[in-house]
C-alpha cells in the first residue's frame, strides 16, 4: 500500500511536471530512466554487469528512425519493431555471453557491442558520424500528433510507465525470485534443478528489449539517432546512472538517470562547461568511495535506521 501510494504520487508528479519544466527535457529523462531500469534488471537482479548495453539502445534508435523515415509506418509500430530488433540482438548477445561470468561477461558484451558500433559506423543508412537526422515524429495510432512536444511527452510517459511496470512485475514474479536466487548463489540455484543459463538468457533478452524500447522512444523525441547511443561511453554512462541511483533498487535507476541527465544539461551551458568531465569523474569517485548503495539505497538505510 505504501509503495502504491508513493507510485501514484510520483505518477501525478510526472503528469504535472511539464507545467514547470520543458517537456522535451523531461522526455529525455524518462528515456534514460527506462534505459537505466532495463540495465539494472541485469545488474541489480541477476548480478550480471553488461558493458555493451549501448548496442541495444542504439539498435532500437536506428531501426525506429529508419522505419519512420522510409516506411510510413505509424510511430507505435516503428517503436515496436525497433524493440523487437533490440530483443533479437539481445538474444544473440545473450546466447554468447551468459556462459561467462564476472569480468569476462562484461568483456564479451563490450566486444560484441564494439562490433555493432562498427557496423553502424560503416552502414550507409545510419549516415555515420552525422547521425540519422530529421526523423519525423508522426501521428501515434494515426491520430495523436506527436510533433506537439506536450503530446510527445505524455506518449513517452505512457511508454515509460509500461516499461517500469513490466520490470516491477518481472522482479516480483516467481521468475524474478529465481533470478535473485541465481544472483545470490548460483551453485545453489543449479543444484535446485534450475537451468541457470536459460534464466539468465531470458533476463538478458528482456533487458535488451527494454533498452531498445528506450532507444526507439528517444529517437522519436529528438528526431535523431546517432553514434553516441551505440558508443561504449554510453554503456559506461548507464552504469553511472544506476550506481548513483542505487543498484538493485527498482526506483534507483530512475533517480540516477534524472540526476545525471540534469547535471549534464546544467553543465553543458554556462561557466562550468569546461569542467564537465572532471565533475562526472568526481561523482564516480565519490559514489564508489562512500555511496555504493546509491541515493535510493542510502534513503532506505536511513529510513531503516531511523524509523523502524
Amino acid at each position: 500500500m505504501n509503495n502504491l501510494k508513493l507510485n501514484i504520487f510520483l505518477l501525478a508528479l510526472a503528469l504535472l511536471a511539464p507545467a514547470v519544466l520543458y517537456p522535451v527535457f523531461l522526455a529525455k529523462v524518462l528515456c534514460f530512466a527506462l534505459f537505466a531500469c532495463a540495465f539494472n534488471l541485469l545488474l541489480g537482479f541477476v548480478g550480471l554487469l553488461s558493458f555493451g548495453h549501448a548496442a541495444f539502445l542504439g539498435t532500437g534508435g536506428y531501426i525506429t528512425g529508419y522505419l519512420m523515415i522510409n516506411s510510413g509506418l505509424t510511430p507505435e509500430i516503428a517503436i515496436l519493431l525497433g524493440t523487437l530488433a533490440g530483443a533479437a540482438l539481445g538474444a544473440i548477445f545473450g546466447k554468447l555471453a551468459v556462459k561467462r561470468e564476472g569480468i569476462y561477461f562484461a568483456m564479451v558484451t563490450l566486444a560484441l557491442a564494439q562490433l555493432v558500433f562498427f557496423i553502424y559506423l560503416q552502414a550507409p543508412f545510419t549516415n555515420g558520424e552525422d547521425g540519422m537526422q530529421g526523423v519525423p515524429r508522426g501521428h501515434a495510432f494515426g491520430a495523436l500528433d506527436l510533433s506537439d512536444n506536450l503530446v510527445m511527452y505524455y506518449f513517452v510517459l505512457a511508454i515509460f510507465v509500461f516499461g517500469y511496470w513490466l520490470i516491477n512485475r518481472t522482479v516480483h514474479s516467481p521468475f524474478g525470485q529465481i533470478l535473485k536466487a541465481i544472483r545470490d548463489n548460483e551453485d545453489r540455484a543449479t543444484s535446485l534443478g534450475y537451468d541457470v543459463n536459460r534464466y539468465k538468457w531470458i533476463a538478458f533478452v528482456i533487458s535488451a528489449a527494454l533498452a531498445a524500447l528506450a532507444g526507439s522512444t528517444k529517437t522519436l523525441v529528438f528526431q535523431l539517432a546517432s553514434l553516441t547511443d551505440v558508443h561504449w561511453h554510453m554503456s559506461g554512462e548507464v552504469i553511472l546512472m544506476t550506481l548513483v541511483g542505487g543498484v538493485g533498487t527498482i526506483f534507483g535507476p530512475v533517480l540516477g538517470a534524472g540526476f545525471i541527465v540534469t547535471m549534464q544539461n546544467y553543465l553543458s551551458g554556462g561557466e562550468l562547461g569546461n569542467y564537465i568531465h572532471i565533475i562526472m569523474g568526481v561523482v564516480f569517485v565519490v559514489c564508489v568511495l562512500s555511496f555504493r548503495s546509491g541515493i535510493v539505497g542510502q534513503l532506505i538505510k536511513f529510513k531503516r535506521n531511523n524509523f523502524s
Partner: protein, 402 residues
C-alpha cells in the same frame, strides 16, 4: 481515496493547460534579441571553437553597444560535445523554450547539420562559422542557413588547384573516415580531375587515429606526387609528424587541406615549414585584423583562429541587420542580411549569397620556417589573396532563396 483521485485529475488538467500555454507563448516574436553560441568546450576542437567562439560573440555584442531593438542583447552558450544528439537537444530547448533567435559558433558538420534541422522547423537562423562541409548550401540547403568563414570547396580550390596546375598531377589521399573527410576528398578529387590530374589512391583512416605510420607507408608506395591530408585537428598534426619521420616529405609533397592556426602552431616548424594552405583569415594580415586580434588575444589568451574571427563577423552582421530591419524575426532579418554587404576586418569583398553562402576573399598562406619566425604567433606568410568567386563554387539554382 476518491478525493485524492479527484485532486490528482484536476491538478493534472490544470498542469496540462498551464504547460500548453507556456509552450504556445514562445513562438511569437518577443522583441528581444537572444543569441546562442554552441561550441566544443572540452573536445578535440575546443581550441579552434570553444570558449574562444563565446569570447568572439561577446566582443561583437559589446562592440555593437550591447543593445538591439532598444533592449539588451542576451547571449547563451553551451557545449555541443561535438555530438549531434546533444547539439540537437540543446538547440531545440533554446529555440522552443528559451526564445533564442539565432544559433552561431557550430563546429563539426554533424553538429551543424543537427542544429540546422531543428532551426528550419522552428524558423530560426543557423549561423555556421566552424564547419567545413559544403552541404549546408548545396544538398541540405535551407532558407535559414548562413555559412560563414570557409568550406571544403574553398579549401580545395585554394590549396589543390594551384598545385595541380603547377604540374603535381598524381594525388594520394589520407582521409578522415567521416562525412567531413569524405566531402573534402570528393571536392578535392573533382578539382584534381578537372585540372588534368589523377587520384592514384586513397585511404580512410578512422577518426582520432594516433598512429599514421601504416598509412604513410602505403602513401609512399603509391608513387604519387602529392599526399593530401583530408582531415583536421590532431589527425592532421599526427599524420604530418609521421610523414616526416618516415621520410615521406623528402619524396613527395604533403598538403594539409584543413589546417587551423592552432594546429600550425603545434607542428614542428622544421616539419611544416614551407607547406601551403588556405585560410579564411590570418591575424597578422593587416592593421585592421591585427587590431581586433590584439583585443581578442588580451581577453582570450591566444591568437584567434579563422573561426573565432568568423563568429565575430557573422554576429556583427546579424546584429546590424536586426537593427536595420526593426525586428528579430528570422524571415525578415535573413533578407536584410543577404541584401547588405558584410564589411569588417574579416569580410573582404564579401557578400551573403541567396543560398546562405558568405563569399569573401580567402588567403593562400605558407607556414614559416623556424628561422623566419619572430615569435610563436608568427606562423604564416601570406602568398596571395584568392578572390571569393574563385574560391567558392557558384550557387545552385535549387538553393536560391531570394
Amino acid at each position: 481515496m476518491k478525493n485524492l483521485n479527484k485532486t490528482i485529475v484536476s491538478s493534472m488538467v490544470a498542469g496540462i493547460m498551464a504547460a500548453s500555454l507556456s509552450t504556445a507563448a514562445v513562438a511569437e516574436s518577443d522583441g528581444k534579441v537572444k543569441l546562442g553560441i554552441l561550441a566544443d568546450m572540452g573536445g578535440v576542437y575546443a581550441d579552434i571553437c570553444g570558449r574562444g567562439c563565446v569570447t568572439a560573440a561577446e566582443m561583437a555584442i559589446e562592440d555593437f553597444g550591447g543593445k538591439a531593438l532598444g533592449q539588451p542583447i542576451e547571449l547563451v552558450t553551451a557545449d555541443s560535445q561535438l555530438k549531434p544528439d546533444i547539439a540537437s537537444s540543446i538547440a531545440r530547448q533554446w529555440v522552443e523554450a528559451d526564445g533564442v533567435d539565432a544559433i552561431g559558433g557550430l563546429v563539426s558538420s554533424a553538429v551543424s547539420g543537427a542544429v540546422s534541422k531543428v532551426n528550419l522547423n522552428a524558423k530560426k537562423l543557423t549561423m555556421i562559422s566552424g564547419s567545413a562541409s559544403n552541404t549546408f548550401t548545396t544538398k541540405s540547403c535551407n532558407p535559414f542557413n548562413v555559412h560563414w568563414t570557409y568550406n571544403v570547396v574553398a579549401l580545395a580550390n585554394g590549396t589543390v588547384k594551384p598545385m595541380v596546375q603547377a604540374g603535381k598531377k598524381k594525388w594520394f589521399f589520407i582521409t578522415a573516415d567521416y562525412s567531413f573527410g569524405h566531402a573534402l576528398e570528393g571536392v578535392a578529387s573533382k578539382v584534381i580531375n578537372e585540372n588534368g590530374g589523377e587520384v592514384v589512391g586513397s585511404i580512410r583512416a578512422p577518426l582520432g587515429t594516433t598512429d599514421f605510420s601504416s598509412y604513410v607507408l602505403q602513401a609512399q608506395a603509391s608513387g604519387a606526387d602529392v599526399v593530401a591530408l583530408a582531415n583536421a585537428g590532431n589527425d592532421t598534426v599526427n599524420a604530418l609528424k609521421t610523414a616526416t619521420e618516415f621520410g615521406l616529405t623528402e619524396m613527395m609533397d604533403v598538403a594539409g587541406l584543413l589546417v587551423f592556426t592552432q594546429n600550425a602552431q603545434a607542428m614542428d616548424p622544421s616539419v611544416a615549414g614551407g607547406m601551403r594552405l588556405t585560410t579564411g583569415f590570418y591575424w597578422d594580415m593587416d592593421d585592421k585584423a591585427r587590431d581586433w586580434s590584439q583585443r581578442f588575444q588580451e581577453r582570450h589568451g591566444s591568437i584567434p583562429s579563422m573561426i573565432h574571427a568568423g563568429v565575430y563577423s557573422a554576429t556583427t552582421h546579424y546584429l546590424k541587420s536586426v537593427e536595420a530591419s526593426g525586428t528579430e524575426e528570422a524571415e525578415v532579418v535573413i533578407k536584410k542580411m543577404k541584401a547588405t554587404k558584410p564589411e569588417d576586418f574579416f569580410s573582404r569583398n564579401a557578400e551573403l549569397r541567396a543560398d546562405g553562402r558568405m563569399v569573401h576573399d580567402m588567403l593562400s598562406v605558407e607556414i614559416k620556417k623556424a628561422g623566419e619566425r619572430k615569435d610563436k604567433n608568427d606562423i604564416y606568410k601570406v602568398i596571395k589573396v584568392i578572390p571569393g568567386n574563385e574560391a567558392f563554387s557558384p550557387m545552385l539554382p535549387q538553393c536560391n532563396f531570394s
